[in-house]
Amino acid sequence: MSYKFDFGVLLPYWPQLLHACLLTLWLAATAVICGFIIGIITVVARRSGLMFLRAIALTYIEIIRNTPFLVQVFFIFFGLPTVGISFTPWTAAFLALSLNCGAFSAEIIRGGVDAIPRGQFEAGAALGLKPLQVFRYIILKPALRVIYPALSGQFVLALLTTSIVSSISAEELTSTAQLLDSDLFRSFEIYIVATLLYFALSTIFSFIFKGIDRVFFSYPIK
């Protein structure tokens, strides 16, 4: 163990690392917001009276949840151009993350909706609200409250999953770390720093979700 740490060599690159952090945060945030919306739409589709909507939603969820994320990324970035649909690494990364996050969120949110007592749906219907209105105004918020810890956990996981899109060289934190490593040959230092930065980022993410929890789900329940 005669290794001498030298974090000094990384100092000149801090603007690059900071930039990578911000891009990672941005990618994760947009993908999570998009995935959340996809998740809600998928839950609505799964509860729809129309068979083909239910089938589409279920197929989507099952395909995403039963295939590796890396393969999904490769399919979008390397596969789709074959049929004339090509994306920049960044867009491909965003799409893959959103779709992935959407499918997992959908399953979590569905669990929340299932936990809402039937009487809530009935009370909404009895007041004359249409099924989508019942879902939007009566069911959604209490359902999200039930599964909020699991959902925010999933969103933090989405942030960490952004590291996988480094494989298509989207300029996020992991690929930046890889680039620095190939220049500096200081793997140990670089990945210690990267690890700490990811930890900081997910802490920021969790902190934001706690704030959202306080603002939206603080109504008293029995």
Partner: protein
């Protein structure tokens, strides 16, 4: 044939002959799988009439009133509410639901909305009432059920009796022509039953058409125009309260009354 005869008997009972009923239930059949929950139900309700439905659990009493606003589906027969026939399109179902208020055993207030917001939701989203007007309507009915000071609390902060009064106010905000009560006092602590019954009595005195599933026989005596006894999915007996309680005709009615009045 039997249907027509029954309807005539009911009409004769209450003197409704010649007046169009606000609710007409004809030959209603309802199954849960193989279980025959409602067997050929026929019932006419006049405007302004107060009907109490009682019977042992599983007799179909809640199911009947839940069919009236299609919270429960039914297999055959027809229900016409204020001239609107149920069983055809969803458009009709929504039209009926907007006219019919419902109060549930478990209150079913929306936990994430304040009392005021609970009352404002349907007028705003179903009728398109402005927020300002919806608030005025909501406060009017919260005062009506004597609970305006709780407007900004959440349901979980209220007692059961208060919650049920809010549920009544919430239904009234849609200015329904008919109110359905599904065992409104069964989930309440005994000391809170009275405040809810008082609210219902004053509603009855204002001429609201009411169908009420309840075991509160004092309430039935005081406000009901007719009392219906159900068992095993059938209407066994239907009479004015004094008659119903003093000379029940059917054996099963006598047994039931014996059980619930002597405890």
């Amino acid at each position: 044939m039997t249907t027509t005869t029954q309807q005539h008997i009911h009409a004769a009972d209450t003197g409704t002959t010649g007046q169009d009923p606000i609710i007409r239930i004809s030959s209603l059949q309802k199954y849960y799988g193989a279980f025959h929950a409602l067997k050929n139900i026929n019932l006419d309700v006049r405007k302004g009439e107060r009907i109490v439905v009682c019977g042992p659990s599983g007799s179909g009493k809640s199911t009947i009133i839940r069919c009236i606003n299609r919270i429960e589906q039914f297999e055959s027969g027809s229900i016409v509410v204020d001239g609107i026939s149920l069983g055809e399109s969803m458009r009709n179902v929504n039209a009926v639901r907007a006219e019919v208020g419902m109060v549930f055993q478990q209150f079913n207030l929306f936990p994430h909305l304040t009392v005021l917001q609970n009352c404002m939701l349907a007028p705003m989203r179903v009728r398109g009432t402005s927020k300002k007007d919806a608030e005025i309507i909501a406060m009017k009915y919260l005062e009506r059920v004597r609970i305006p000071e709780q407007a900004n609390k959440y349901p979980a902060q209220l007692s059961g009796g208060q919650q049920q009064r809010v549920a009544i106010a919430r239904a009234l905000c849609m200015t329904p022509k008919i109110m359905l009560f599904d065992e409104p006092t069964s989930a309440l602590d005994p000391e809170m039953v009275k405040e809810v019954l008082d609210t219902m009595i004053s509603l009855a005195q204002e001429g609201m058409t009411m169908l009420c599933v309840t075991h509160e026989m004092g309430f039935a005596r005081q406000v009901a125009d007719r009392v219906i006894f159900m068992d095993t999915g059938e209407i066994i007996e239907m009479a004015k309260p004094q008659e119903f309680f003093s000379q029940p005709k059917n054996e099963r009615t006598r047994n039931f009354l014996g059980q619930i009045l002597n405890h």
